[in-house]
């Protein structure tokens, strides 16, 4: 049976009709990982098949604590750390008939937008091995894009799901902050971190979100809101008012702009309304995010003392040290008001800005990234490369909104272009619905199926 490129829901059906066993599916992916992982470096740890669990295999970003399985956050500080507990997200997946295939590479501690700050070497973009897959969930993105897993879990602080999804041609969903539990997620920016799925199809994204979303007593920042049945919600024939802000097209690569504009024409053709809106320029979000994130990072990484678990702080690599230092500075005596407090006030401005705009539109569409996948090594030219690449994604992250990215075309380097849809807080069903409508109309131009051509069995 040819499994190459099958979605989660397709595999689920094959299992239910007993056309294939979960062992056969798991071993199918193990074979592919053996064939391609050395080249791509998308997995840090590969698991053995566990017959007690059965279930559909899924790749998990190595920032999630998985009981009994090595968890490193791609840092030598946790090189040999075996997690003594299970994160809520992976726990829910295991209870919903999934099995962990392996832990994927990321920027160490999620610090980055290219997976190049990993202490275990960068992951390569399946579209062009000389390029980065994006980050920080780059390992997860490369795994799904090259079909070394039918889907993966990533996490986003500001761009870490949407950017790699855009650079590798996948559907990447960042849920509203508080929609999905952070219990067991190695903390980066505690007021921002949002776990979410990277998938080949919108339906898979909806299916996984339904499983992982919901109030968790172990994470007090999760919200007690009912979790809709996303799979049925996305199929409702709804028409939306789509907002477009000039500020999000400012300074963007021409080819990215063209593909996104062509996609917007398709939405018009289907019958959605477009409205021009004005938003605070995303360049301010770069500064805002840099301060808040690095402050929270300096606090979160202080727990790694090398005494209770893991190696000592001398095992931190450059990027982590840099971010800890800036965070310490902005929180230190005499500077807290000028930096952290000011940044939290700007954050209020950004939230109020979105609230105002969401009175007139249902969703906002924009490019996901200013440019397509960069060559490996480019990031060293910038002191805050990650934050610069994520410019279009940071404002919505600062506000805690939900957003997703999906592919809308290829540029002339034959690299995927991602479009993002930003939705109101806790309205994941709307952005998924719109993405699904686009998928039904175009099949994402077959971009999510690159593995079928380049990564044969």
């Amino acid at each position: 049976m040819n499994l190459l490129g099958k979605s989660i829901l397709e595999l689920k059906t094959l299992l239910e009709t007993k056309e294939i066993s979960s062992k056969e599916i798991f071993e199918y992916f193990l074979k592919r990982i053996k064939k391609y992982n050395k080249k791509l470096n998308s997995y840090l740890t590969v698991c053995d098949y566990n017959d007690k669990l059965k279930g559909i295999p899924i790749a998990i970003k190595d920032a999630f604590c998985t009981k009994g399985i090595r968890t490193t956050a791609a840092s030598k500080v946790l090189d040999n750390f075996i997690s003594p507990y299970e994160s809520t997200v992976t726990s829910k997946l295991i209870n919903s008939n999934f099995q962990i295939l392996g832990k994927t590479n990321l920027d160490a501690w999620c610090h980055g937008s290219s997976t190049e700050t990993s202490d275990y070497g960068p992951t390569r973009n399946p579209w062009d091995l000389l390029r980065a897959p994006g980050g920080s969930s780059g390992g997860s993105a490369a795994a799904v894009s090259a079909y070394l897993s039918p889907a993966a879990i990533g996490s986003e602080t500001a761009g870490s799901i949407r950017l790699p999804a855009a650079w590798t041609g996948l559907v990447g969903l960042k849920p509203t902050y508080g929609r999905v539990s952070r219990y067991g997620v190695i903390a980066m920016g505690s007021s921002l971190d949002s776990p979410g799925p990277l998938t080949l199809t919108t339906e898979d994204s909806a299916y996984i979100l339904k499983i992982i979303a919901g109030k968790d007593p172990y994470d007090a920042t999760t919200v007690d809101k009912k979790v809709p049945n996303y799979l049925t919600e996305i199929k409702k024939n709804k028409k939306y008012i789509i907002g477009l802000a000039e500020e999000y097209f400012d300074g963007i690569d021409e080819q990215v702009k063209n593909k996104v504009n062509q996609a917007i024409e398709i939405y018009k053709k289907i019958g959605h309304q477009i409205k021009k809106i004005k938003l605070i320029h995303p360049k301010y979000a770069i500064s805002d995010y840099t301060i808040i994130q690095r402050s929270e990072v300096s606090s979160n990484l202080s727990r790694y003392d090398g005494i209770r678990y893991g190696n000592g702080r001398e095992f931190f690599a450059d990027e982590a040290k840099k971010r800890i230092m800036l965070g310490t500075y902005s929180l230190s005596y005499g500077y807290y008001d000028a930096f952290y407090k000011k940044a939290q006030k700007v954050r209020t401005l950004i939230i109020e800005d979105f609230k105002r705009v969401f009175k007139d539109v249902d969703v906002i569409i924009a490019p996901s990234t200013p440019i397509t996948a960069l060559k490996l090594g480019e990031f060293t030219k910038y002191p805050f490369f990650g934050e610069l690449m994520d410019v279009l994604l940071e404002p919505s992250s600062m506000a805690g909104l939900t957003a997703l990215s999906f592919p809308v075309g290829l540029d002339n380097h034959h690299l995927p272009v991602g479009l993002q849809i930003i939705g109101r807080w806790f309205e994941e069903e709307n952005i998924l619905n719109l993405a699904y409508q686009f998928e039904r109309e175009t099949n994402f131009f077959n971009i999510t199926r690159i593995a079928l051509k380049k990564y044969s069995d």
Binding site: P84, Y85, E86, S91, T176, Y177, G178, Y183, S191, P217, Y218, A220, T221, V223, I280, K283, Y284, I286, S287, D288, T290, I291, S298, S302, D305, I307, R308, Y309, R313, E314, F316, D318, K321, K322, I324, M325, L326, T328, Y329, S332, A338, F339, K341, K342, A343, Q344, K345, V346, R347, T348, L349, I351, P383, F384, M398, A399, G400, W425
Partner: protein, 89 residues
């Protein structure tokens, strides 16, 4: 936010607060990188925030408690309640 060029003493002070042991090279590199970053983030001054409250939590939950006596079965280890550490004496 008037002074942005960080001195070596400030870097050393910060590294002590953060419990990071930095080599001389690292100190120089971080000095340069931090100064560049601080220069960029100055642009926040262009936004007026005098009458604005800070946001600490984007979804504004209040008083979320874990009820006493509720089943906390997902602690760190169900084998023991202790951490095993390297020998210190």
């Amino acid at each position: 936010m008037t002074k942005t060029k960080l001195s070596k003493e400030e870097i050393l002070h910060l590294s002590k607060l953060a419990n990071l042991n930095l080599s001389n090279e690292e100190i120089k590199k971080i000095q340069r990188q931090l100064t560049e970053t601080l220069d960029y983030i100055k642009n926040l001054k262009e936004l007026k925030t005098d009458k604005v409250d800070p946001t600490h939590h984007t979804v504004n939950s209040i008083n979320v408690f874990f009820e006493d006596g509720q089943n906390n079965s997902r602690g760190l280890s169900n084998i023991s309640t202790y951490f095993k550490v390297k020998r210190i004496l």
